[in-house]
């Protein structure tokens, strides 16, 4: 399972990820055209700030997805890659998913009355937010690989201390 891993100490709050997320979900994948759309594309991740910490908050595609469990029409479903996706035509705008999501990353598209959430950019190998981050605060990593990295890091720190 691939994760989008956020290194909060690297985020400058430039919002490039938000812009590129919108562009990726625009009719023509182009900024100049995107801002002219009648209903401009919505962002699916959010830069938030608490004190000095700035970070993008985004969908984790949880294995036990509260949003999916709360969706009464079956608009939210899991695809073959494990990504929680949404079918526009089934969404009735009840916002149960918004209430259920513990991360607050399902948003409301008030123009078209449907919920919007991260779809991991199905047309791209690397999601637009990850590809665009100028400081590499966002990384696409394998969950198992990340935990291995962590274990290695602990060991490395321990051995440096021993020396």
């Amino acid at each position: 399972m691939q994760l989008i891993y956020v290194q909060t100490d690297r985020c400058l709050g430039c919002r490039t990820c938000e812009i590129q997320c919108r562009v990726e979900h625009a009719e023509e994948k182009n900024l100049f055209a995107a801002i002219r759309q009648i209903h401009p594309p919505k962002k699916r991740l959010f830069i938030e700030q608490q004190g000095k910490v700035k970070a993008p908050i985004l969908c984790h595609h949880c294995d036990d997805s509260p949003c999916m469990a709360a969706c009464i029409t079956g608009s939210l479903y899991r695809d073959e890659h494990g990504i929680v996706q949404r079918k526009d035509e089934l969404c009735i705008g009840c916002w149960s998913c918004i209430m259920a999501c513990p991360f607050g990353v399902v948003a409301r598209d008030a123009d078209v009355h449907v919920a919007v959430k991260c779809d991991r950019c199905p047309d791209r190998e690397i999601p637009a937010c990850v590809a665009s981050c100028p400081t590499k605060a966002l990384r696409l990593v394998d969950a198992d690989q990340l935990s291995k990295e962590r274990r290695q890091e602990i060991l490395f720190r321990g051995s440096s201390l021993a020396e």
Partner: protein, 634 residues
């Protein structure tokens, strides 16, 4: 990513011996992707320390900065400051020449002289300075004082603006309140009105930008006039362009930048037998080979026939040939990256101006009071460096094109006078009326990494020439057409439509070229754009109309710099529909976009046409040309 359509540049990029750690502007462009969307739209503001502020272009987040400025205000301020930046560059360039002229008249710069008395008298006469019975020195003294008064607070319309546009245009400028009374004062005014808490009205700010652009035009015109007086008005000259002009067996000195004050002297000194002998003594059988890059290249090509190596965007590529012993720079469009590229080779980068130094380069202060000695010292650095050239790292593409350059307004009129001595403009106007010349397009501006180098220039020019549009070119547009062989008689036969080819053949043969005039006329460096205005104004005055009615358009299809923004803006102010092939950072404001591409047309006749697709851009320009022809009843 395709970097360039120039075969010589491409050959060096693919085969250079600088190692794989050597990065170019195109690599750095890729590393910058994606570029900041707020910046691309012009909706970020850093004019105060409460910021930075950004407007959400999607209308969900903030619609105002902390001070309350909207996207319209922020975008307009950005445009105005870009124009001011460009104007400051041209002001500095022009003032530098005026200072040297003044010092020369006081006997302090013995290496400079009045080279073109005819031009001196023509300019002085136009500026209202008495000529009859006076020596050149006396006239020049009055002229230089007049010139210097343009920079400070003159208290009246700038002479170089008021005397070089049509009467109707000056009235239009006056009505809009955009007649500058000081070059530097207008730059300062833009900085003032765009600072924290001054002008918030986007339209008023844009009028300020237009006024500053007129000041830029003034500075450019003044610079060109004084350069011609000091170094001679360009006349047609046959030279060569592209990296194939570098010589394996010679000391190759590349002169890069803009102002002829330095480059013209080096060009003169490089032909001294003693200097050539020094180069030969260092082992360079071919002696000294001076080549030009960017607009310095245009200046010395026009006046001395010195070959042009390449344009601004490929300045690093020139170093990557491994054959340049010294690259000597003054100011503007000099990428700091050249010092890094030079680390991979033996090339010495020499900066010369107190305001333009660079980490990794050697600084040799150029003194105009001791110009020739300075020039010799600089050349000697190159000769010394030749000894450490590594032949294994040399990669000179055997590619260059012949180019006829040097079509100043005076040279064009002189060529036309060979057809009709009493009324030189008549053949030009008759052929415009008859449709043999459907219109005129001035190509200006730069090369950008955002477009494969030269792609837009070449695509557009082929279409326009086939439709009988006469092409004028300046700056790196000149370079593109010179390198791609569009400045030859053969190019007329190959690319020009029937009507245009016939006209160019008649003029070329009358002028003794033994063939047609080139279909693209090299009018000089980017500061020389007013040369094209002079031609348009002469035609308009003769026809008793304004420039905004003529079938004349401009295009900067690969624009980069703030100078290009300033020039483009004064082209619009002057009444020319002006195409931009790169989207400028204004789309974040619907109002500013609307004003610059449409509303301004009603006020000035000129307006911006933004079209990245060169084929569509050519069609758009042809449509405008036809509209204007129809307006004149043609």
């Amino acid at each position: 990513m395709k970097c360039s359509i120039d075969p010589a540049v491409t050959e060096v990029l693919n085969n250079h011996k600088g190692g794989n750690k050597l990065k170019t502007a195109w690599d750095r462009y890729e590393a910058q992707q994606p570029q900041c969307g707020f910046g691309e739209l012009g909706v970020c503001c850093r004019h105060c320390m409460q910021g930075p502020c950004r407007i959400d272009p999607f209308g969900e987040g903030p619609d105002r900065g902390i001070c309350g400025a909207t996207a319209d205000t922020i975008v307009a301020r950005g445009v105005a400051r870009a124009v001011a930046g460009g104007t400051a560059s041209h002001s500095g360039h022009a003032l530098h020449i005026a200072h040297v002229l003044k010092k020369m008249l006081a006997g302090k710069t013995p290496d400079y002289a009045i080279k073109d008395e005819v031009k001196l008298k023509a300019v002085a006469g136009r500026c209202g300075i008495a000529i009859e019975g006076r020596s050149s020195k006396e006239i020049a003294q009055d002229l230089v004082e007049k010139a210097l008064s343009e920079f400070g607070d003159k208290g009246e319309a700038l002479t170089w603006a008021a005397t070089t546009v049509t009467k109707a245009r000056l009235e239009t400028f006056s009505k809009l309140g955009i007649v500058p009374t000081s070059i530097d004062g207008t730059i300062a005014e833009v900085m003032h009105r765009t600072t924290y808490g001054v002008d918030a009205d986007p339209v008023n700010i844009l009028l300020g930008a237009l006024k500053c652009a007129v000041a830029d035009y003034t500075a450019c015109h003044l610079a060109t006039d004084l350069s011609d007086i000091l170094f001679g008005t360009p006349q047609p000259v046959v030279s060569k362009a592209n990296l194939g002009v570098l010589k394996e067996d010679a000391v190759n000195i590349a002169l890069h930048g803009h102002n002829p004050l330095l480059s013209d002297i080096i060009a003169q000194v490089a032909s001294e037998p003693e200097m050539i002998a020094e180069a030969q003594a260092a082992g360079a059988a071919g002696g000294l080979n001076v080549v030009g890059i960017c607009c310095t290249g245009n200046e010395i090509m026009m006046r001395h026939g010195i070959p042009l190596a390449t344009s601004s965007i490929s300045q690093e590529v020139a170093i990557m040939t491994g054959a340049i012993d010294a690259m000597v720079v003054d100011y503007q469009c000099i990428m700091p990256a050249i010092a890094t590229a030079a680390e991979c080779f033996h090339t010495k980068v020499i900066t010369t101006m107190p305001i333009a130094k660079m980490p990794g380069a050697e600084h040799i202060a150029f003194s105009d009071e001791n110009a020739v000695e300075c020039a010799r010292a600089i050349l000697r650095q190159g000769i010394e460096r030749f000894k450490s050239r590594n032949p294994d790292k040399v990669c000179i593409p055997q590619k260059s094109s012949t180019a006829i350059a040097g079509f100043s307004a005076e040279a064009i009129v002189a060529a036309l006078a060979k057809v009709n001595a009493d009324d030189p403009l008549k053949p030009l106007i008759d052929n415009i009326v008859a449709g043999n010349i459907r219109g005129i397009c001035l190509f200006a501006g730069c090369n950008t990494v955002k477009v494969p180098q030269d792609h837009n220039y070449i695509e557009m020019v082929k279409k326009l020439l086939a439709e009988n549009v006469l092409i004028l070119a300046t700056g790196c547009a000149s370079s593109a057409y010179a390198r791609h062989g569009f400045m030859t008689s053969e190019a007329t036969i190959r690319y020009a439509g029937k009507g245009l080819a016939a006209v160019l053949t008649v003029i070329g043969e009358a002028a003794g070229l033994g063939g047609p005039l080139p279909p693209v006329l090299h009018m000089g460096s980017c500061v020389d754009n007013p040369r094209a205005v002079d031609v348009a104004v002469a035609i308009a005055n003769k026809l008793g109309v304004d420039v905004s009615q003529l079938p004349v358009v401009a295009s900067a299809p690969e624009a980069v710099t703030e100078k290009a923004v300033a020039i483009g803006t004064w082209a619009v102010a002057g009444g020319l529909p002006t195409h931009l092939g790169v989207v400028p950072p204004v789309l974040g404001s619907k109002l500013v976009t609307e004003v610059l591409t449409s509303t301004v047309k009603d006020l000035l006749g000129g307006y911006f046409i933004v079209e990245p697709d060169p084929a569509k851009a050519a069609v758009a320009l042809l449509t405008v040309i036809d509209e204007r022809r129809a307006g004149l009843g043609l």
